[in-house]
Structure formats: structure tokens, C-alpha cells
């Protein structure tokens, strides 16, 4: 039996062509770069790649990256929850302006973000000389790297929670308070359980960016070997040193982190679609 093509169906050839182009595009532009990372890391065998990862500088870059994420992510979680609570649970003047200010870091170049901190804390910065006299290091040290990372990952948790909590309204919290719960009890027993998957989603994206940030951190790090190089910076240093296997070995660790992030993200979108903010329901 011959089936008729529906009025809103595309021509089969058109369909085939578009699917072909999509697969080709994704394969060439997304899949191939990923494959290159692992293939270049294993170019001289897995032993050499693993050896490159146990190099003291590589190990210290891994440690630094973990420390930076361990500070930056919780800081932005606390901020994200506070901002979403303020925006979703109260009515005040200037709310929409506040929400657009929270998104601001997404439209600032990471390099410009790093530069802003250098202009405050650097040697010729606003309080640079004072810091030097008191022997406090911010730029070319851990605090600067953390600050730059916090800047670029600033909106992730907040922008996930704000639409979600606005959607959920405030009836349940008001009921809890009227029954005698304190503010913290209300938050931990009523609000948190209903936002936990959205929060995890935000933390996931925030963490991936925090561990992978390059531009902003490159400006404030000063590239002191074994001290202020995070993993993405270590990748650059090794690559510019023509130590390609070592560079791609560190890079493949970061690529694995990206793959884990994508997997968990897809699982969350698939399993908890209703409990994530409306943006992801498709």
C-alpha cells in the first residue's frame, strides 16, 4: 500500500539531506575535536600518557584546579540560592533589573573579567601598593584565581534556580511559616527538596566551567609553574613547550570531565525534566 506524505512532512530527499548534513556537521565540528584529544594523548602509548599525568607540575595543577572549584562552586551556590530566594519569594522595586545584572558576567569577555581584578589588586591597581606593603598576594596567587573563576561562573546556579523558584510560587513556604516553622526550617524542609535537582543541574554546569576556565584565569595567574597553573593553563604551557603528548594527556582528563558532565546533564534532563526549570523541558 502506498502511503501519502502528510502536508507537514518534508520531502524524503530533503529529510535525508538535512539528517546527513546534521550528522556530518556534528561529526566534523564536535566529535572529531574530541577524538583528537584522546588520540593525541595516546599517540606514544598509554604508559607515556599516564607518566605525563604523574609529573609534579601536572599533579599540582590538578590539585589547584580542585581547590579552586571547591571554593568557587560553593560560593556561587550560596549566592544563587540567596538571589533566587530574594527574587522568587518577595516583590520589590528593581527586581527585573537585578535579574539582568546577575546575567551580566555572561556578556563580559573572560579576559576582560580577569583584567578588572588586575586593575584592582595588581601592582598598579587601586589597592595593589597597600597589598604589597602588607604582604598580601591576590594577583598571581590563589585568591585571584578563585575570584576570576567566581566571576565567570557567577550566573550558573542563580539563573537555574530563579525561573524554577518563581514557577513554584510561595504558597508552600507561607503555609510552613504560618504553622510556626522558622525561616531556615522552611528553606531546608520545604524549598530545598523541591529545587534539589535544579540545584544539582546548576552546580554541574558551574563546576564544569570552574574547572575548565582559561581566559579569566590566564590573566590573573601569572603562570608560576607548579604554583599558579590550573589544568587548562597547564595544557597551554605544555603545548607551547611542544610537549604534545603531555599536553593532550592533561587535556584528556579535562575532556573526560566534560563527558561526565554531559552524561549527568542528559540523565537529569531525561529523568527529572519536570523538576528542572522550564527552559530545559523540551
Amino acid at each position: 500500500m502506498k502511503t501519502m506524505r502528510g502536508a507537514t512532512e518534508d520531502h524524503p530527499l530533503m529529510k535525508l539531506g538535512l539528517i546527513g548534513l546534521t550528522i556530518a556537521f556534528v561529526a566534523l565540528f564536535l566529535f572529531l575535536p574530541l577524538i583528537v584529544v584522546f588520540s593525541a594523548a595516546l599517540d606514544k602509548g598509554i604508559g607515556i600518557a599516564l607518566h605525563a599525568l604523574t609529573d609534579p607540575d601536572a599533579l599540582s595543577s590538578i590539585k589547584l584546579t580542585l581547590i579552586v572549584a571547591a571554593i568557587a562552586v560553593p560560593a556561587n551556590v550560596i549566592f544563587g540560592v540567596a538571589a533566587a530566594w530574594a527574587v522568587a519569594k518577595y516583590d520589590f522595586v528593581g527586581k527585573s533589573f537585578l535579574v539582568s545584572l546577575i546575567d551580566l558576567p555572561f556578556s563580559v569577555s573572560p579576559v576582560v573579567a580577569g583584567l578588572s581584578y588586575v586593575l584592582i589588586f595588581g601592582m598598579q591597581g587601586w589597592i595593589g601598593p597597600w597589598l604589597r606593603d602588607h604582604d598580601i598576594r591576590i594577583i598571581f596567587a590563589l585568591p585571584g584565581i578563585v575570584l576570576a573563576t567566581v566571576f565567570v561562573t557567577f550566573p550558573f546556579v542563580a539563573r537555574e534556580l530563579i525561573p524554577l523558584m518563581v514557577d513554584q510560587g510561595r504558597d508552600e513556604e507561607e503555609a510552613a511559616v504560618s504553622l510556626g516553622a522558622t525561616g531556615w526550617q522552611t528553606f531546608f524542609r520545604v524549598t530545598l527538596p523541591s529545587i534539589k535537582w535544579g540545584l544539582l543541574y546548576g552546580v554541574l554546569l558551574c563546576n564544569a566551567r570552574a574547572m575548565g576556565e582559561f581566559g579569566a584565569v590566564a590573566v590573573v595567574s601569572g603562570h608560576i609553574r607548579g604554583l599558579t597553573d590550573t589544568m587548562p593553563l597547564q595544557v597551554e604551557v605544555l603545548y607551547n613547550d611542544y610537549q604534545f603528548v603531555a599536553a593532550f594527556a592533561v587535556a584528556s582528563l579535562l575532556a573526560m570531565l566534560a563527558l561526565v558532565t554531559l552524561t549527568v546533564k542528559s540523565l537529569l534532563e531525561w529523568r527529572y525534566a519536570d523538576e528542572l526549570s522550564a527552559i530545559h523541558r523540551h
Binding site: A86, V93, L101, I120, Q124, G125, V219, V235, I279
Partner: protein, 280 residues
């Protein structure tokens, strides 16, 4: 908003506790992390004086870098607009093998650190690379030219277009298309006159986001760009170079121009979006 300001109150009373704490902390954190540093950036270049600022940002090397950044970002955004629409359309409308995997991979540029993307693209498109060698055979040099910058920016910007279009496309009912077909329009006319105008605002938003991200992009570009002054040197790299020369005011001047143009682009984007919404 009007209801709030009646009686001079700037907020509506609420039975929920924690207003002062949550808003206070939000404003403090926002100021400390974002607003004060950006203020430091905006104030800094004026120590050169107005004419000093103008001559700092109109130096030939600076103008060339800004031109490279905005030019390549615009080209990449337009390419992403076409391919993003195509990919989003295929992912929403058709079923094919590995669709789930391809859908998940679209977000790779968000998750992959930019320096990793940078060295991977550079290796891929170098003269002896998997894609660079066939291109070289065709007489096209990709790595270490502006073309390489465009390739990196396509990689970085693609998910913005696809992820903005996907939800809009799936919400789009088939009824208007059916009506259009019933009235005698062919498939292309239906797409051009019915589907495209509805997608307009989302296409503009996605392309605009990809463009804004591409202007400031650093990590994925600097490896493949070749970084030749006046030819393939991007503005963010020139900021880094000025900082290394301790020319703080000069670096800040470029930063202010980039910031101003990004904000103008965002503003234009909002206006264009409102216009497309009205005219859809």
C-alpha cells in the same frame, strides 16, 4: 511595579522571613564580584585623558584587532545561524540513528574547557592534521589564518543557536503548517512564510548570543589563530599582551571598548527581538 510604589513602599510586605538577609547578601556579592571590578575597568583608561583614550583605542594595531574580533565573530555567527537552524530542525522533526547521542554532543562546547578545544582544533586543522591535510590539498590554509579563528568560533557558538531554537521548534504546533498547506502553499512557501517568522525572535536571540560569546572568546582561538599582529590577532589577546607590558590603561581602554560594543549589541538584540516579535 506601579502598585508597589503607591504609598512610597518599595516592596510589598511578606510573611516570609529572610528578605533582608537574602537581598542584602545578593547585593553585596553582586557588587563585590561583578560591579566594583567592572567599575574599576571603566574608570581606569580615563587617566590617559579623553584624547589619550581615543588615541589608545584608535592605534592601528588595536583597530585591526577589534576588526578581526568583530569580523570573525560576525561571520561565525551567520554560519551558526544557518547550521544551527538546520541541526535544530533535524533534531526536533526527524528520527534517525544516534539522535540522542548527537543531541547530547551539541553541548560539548559548553562543557569542554576552551584551551582543550583550542589545542584540539589546532592539531586537527594544522597542515598535517586530519582535516588540515585535505584542506591543504585543496589549497586552503585554515590553521594560523583568520579562517582558523572562524572555525574555532563556529565550534564555540553552535550550541547557543541550537539550544535556543530547539524548545521553540518543539512548541510550534503543526496546525499553522497544515492550514498553510491546505491553502495551497508548497512546503518551501510554508517554511518561508509560516515557520520562519515564528522562529524569528529565537533565531535572533541564538545568533546574538553566539556572536556575543565569540567576540570575547580567547582560549579556543589563540592556538589556531597564529596571532599575527594586524592580521589574525584578536582583541582579547591584545589585552593580555598590553598587560604583560604593564600598559594597564591601554589594556583597560580596549576592555572598555569591547564592553561597550557588547552592551550595544545586547541592546540592539533586545530591540531587534521586540521588532521580530511584533512582526511575526
Amino acid at each position: 511595579m506601579a502598585a508597589l510604589t503607591i504609598g512610597g513602599a518599595w516592596r510589598r510586605p511578606s510573611s516570609l522571613p529572610g528578605f533582608g538577609l537574602s537581598l542584602g547578601f545578593t547585593l553585596f556579592y553582586l557588587s563585590a564580584i561583578v560591579l566594583i571590578p567592572l567599575a574599576a575597568l571603566i574608570i581606569r583608561p580615563w587617566e590617559l585623558g579623553f584624547s589619550g583614550f581615543i588615541s589608545a583605542v584608535t592605534a592601528p594595531r588595536v583597530l585591526a584587532a577589534l576588526e578581526v574580533s568583530f569580523g570573525t565573530a560576525a561571520i561565525a555567527a551567520i554560519i551558526n545561524m544557518f547550521f544551527g537552524l538546520l541541526v535544530a530542525w533535524a533534531l526536533v522533526r526527524y528520527n534517525f540513528p544516534f539522535k540522542k547521542l548527537i543531541d547530547a554532543l551539541i553541548d560539548l562546547p559548553f562543557a569542554l574547557p576552551t584551551s582543550v578545544a583550542g589545542i584540539a582544533l589546532c592539531t586537527l586543522y594544522a597542515q598535517n592534521g586530519w582535516l588540515g591535510a585535505p584542506l591543504a590539498w585543496l589549497g586552503i590554509k585554515a590553521a594560523f589564518t583568520p579562517l582558523g579563528i572562524v572555525i574555532a568560533l563556529i565550534f564555540i557558538g553552535m550550541p547557543f543557536v541550537v539550544r535556543t531554537l530547539q524548545p521553540v521548534l518543539s512548541d510550534l504546533g503543526r496546525e499553522p503548517e497544515e492550514a498553510s498547506a491546505t491553502l495551497g502553499a508548497n512546503r518551501f512557501q510554508t517554511f518561508r512564510r509560516v515557520v520562519l517568522p515564528t522562529l524569528g525572535p529565537a533565531i535572533i536571540t541564538g545568533t546574538g548570543l553566539a556572536f556575543a560569546r565569540a567576540i570575547g572568546e580567547y582560549g579556543s582561538v589563540i592556538f589556531i589563530a597564529g596571532n599575527l599582529p594586524m592580521r589574525s590577532e584578536i582583541a582579547p589577546l591584545l589585552i593580555v599582551i598590553k598587560l604583560e607590558e604593564y600598559d594597564y590603561a591601554g589594556a583597560a581602554a580596549i576592555g572598555v571598548v569591547m564592553l561597550a560594543i557588547s552592551f550595544l549589541a545586547l541592546f540592539a538584540l533586545n530591540a531587534l527581538q521586540a521588532w521580530a516579535y511584533e512582526n511575526r
